[in-house]
């Protein structure tokens, strides 16, 4: 009996190696179910995006056709041209203002997000390293309060920010956003980086200590280079947060960055969806490209940042 039982797995294993992809052999039905589900998944993700892209590439006249031309007969880049130059001609929205403000807003979004990345990597990097390697009394409490800070609604703290920034005279400047965004990017960056430092072997630092390097030198000369993947991942996630943020920018500035500008588009009378679609596509390109390039890093960091 025992022999038969032992035999069975072996014969199964052999059959496995013949499967094309090296996995368990799969029945035809299972394959059909899987590919049908993949198709469904692709439609769920891509249909809205496809709708957006097509809308940005057709004329208002084409858009008016019912049903919506899922595969358009012809395409045009006029919408992109008009939102980038503010040259609305006769084909666009009522306000040339909104169109001509897109490029400056993209510039501001890049500026805010980039400064935020540098500041956060510096501040959160030091903090995360300290928490990971030199825990002090109260460091657990600090980590815990960082996690709990996630439940504080932005809307609950925006009032005091508004008042303080008005007094400082920095309302409607990128600095209002660079300062206030720390509320959510700093905790995120600290969690991701602390988790990353926790996984780095301590032996290297001990060797550096024996060689007479100071603790600060060790951090900058030894740790920073080997922690690069973690720093890149944290940087990408911070950039994404800065790029996507809408609420603070809506309240603290006059449509300075891209998201509130896009929202503002919708309340302008006589604008058309084609132009807004073109602007929306452009606002999606930087985050999507960035994330696809750094896919592996980002997913790892996201998992760490969420679980911890």
């Amino acid at each position: 009996m025992a022999n038969i039982a032992l035999d069975k797995p072996r014969s199964r294993k052999r059959a496995t190696s013949f499967a094309a992809s090296g996995g368990r052999p799969r029945s035809l039905t299972a394959s059909i179910v899987i590919y049908a589900s993949v198709a469904l998944f692709a439609l769920w993700v891509l249909l809205p995006v496809w709708y957006l892209v097509v809308s940005s590439l057709i004329t208002p006249a084409q858009l008016g056709i019912k049903p919506f031309p899922i595969v358009p007969s012809s395409i045009t880049f006029d919408n992109y041209w008009s939102v980038l130059t503010g040259d609305t001609g006769s084909k666009g929205f009522g306000s040339t203002d909104v169109g001509s403000r897109l490029l400056p807003a993209i510039g501001q979004s890049f500026f805010v997000s980039s400064v935020l990345v540098i500041l956060n990597l510096l501040i959160a990097g030091h903090a995360a390293y300290g928490l990971s390697r030199y825990p002090f009394s109260g460091s657990r409490l600090f980590e815990l309060s960082i996690i709990i800070s996630r439940v504080i609604p932005a809307i609950a703290i925006i009032g005091p920010f508004f008042v303080a920034f008005r007094v400082m005279g920095i309302l409607n400047t990128p600095w209002a956003l660079i300062i206030s965004y720390n509320v959510f990017t700093l905790p995120l960056a600290i969690m991701i980086l602390k988790n990353y430092f926790d996984q780095l072997p301590r032996e290297i630092e001990e060797a550096a200590k024996i060689d007479g390097a100071s603790r600060m030198q060790t951090l900058w000369i030894i740790i920073v280079p080997i922690a690069k993947p973690g720093l890149v991942a944290a940087g990408v996630l911070i950039f994404l947060e800065g790029w996507s943020e809408f609420f603070y920018s809506l309240v603290l500035t006059n449509q300075l960055t891209v998201p509130p500008l896009l929202a503002g588009f919708q309340s302008v009378q006589q604008f058309n969806w084609n132009s807004l679609a073109a602007a929306t596509v452009m606002s999606m390109i930087p985050p999507v490209v960035l994330v696809i390039i750094f896919q592996r890093h980002v997913v790892g960091a996201l998992t760490a940042g969420a679980v911890k």
Binding site: V54, F136, S139, R150, P153, F161, A306
Partner: protein
Amino acid sequence: MFGLKLTAPAGILLAALLLVPTVLTVLYSVHDVPANGRSLGPFVGLENYTIVLSSNVFWRSAWVTSLFSIGFVIFSTLIGLAMAILLNQRFVGRGLARAMLIIPWATPWLVIGILWKWYADGSVGGLNAILLKLGIISDYHDFLSDPNSALALTVVAAVWRQASFAGILLLAGLQTLPDDLNEAASLDGANLWQRFTNITIPWLRPALITVTVLNIIYAFLQFDVIFAMTQGGPGDATQVLSILIYRQLFGVTQIGLGSALAVILGVIALVGGLLTVKILYRAERTHG
């Protein structure tokens, strides 16, 4: 003390940016703050809270928030789980499909709101065109101006993004599941469902707890998608608490009332998150 020195700048910054405004908002909530916000105004105790808690607008909004949150949490988590399991199978084009999974997550929340608002539009929307071609509807329908479907559509839009987030985290969890475990179970005669409930789910439980708790917090604090799609309308059909607070603070500048509401929302998110952690961990313990 070196650790404290390294952490101090972050600690001071967060205290200044998070703690101080939070305390101020709590202070506002027990004062009758003038509309210009220059001073605290007279102390009114818990009056703002009693006004809020006895108003129909608040309870109606809390109800809408609950409906939104229940739909958002359940569907984001379940669809995310289904996508993670699917993308963990072997098939041609899996790498591409996994890259696709990231797109909704990388899209800014506000853009998701704008995208779905127009996708669901009653005259130029793509959703209508698709449903029409499939024969599900016979004529174009303006989903967002219909109080019966507006909330459901904001849920769908928010789920579109958040299911991807859940999918990414759960897929990462599944990838650490050793193949041998499933192989051994199937050799022992466990069918697909048994393997799912006895191996996959227990293995994913920590990740599932994380995802669910985060989804609950995201649900209560959601603002961007609803602001872009309906601004709380039609009527008050999609006026979740965050939208109501926005209107109180910036529409009618009732700073005291708005602050009391904001404190209540924060407490709800905190309690909701903590309760979920507790319930799910207890479930984990009883499951062994």
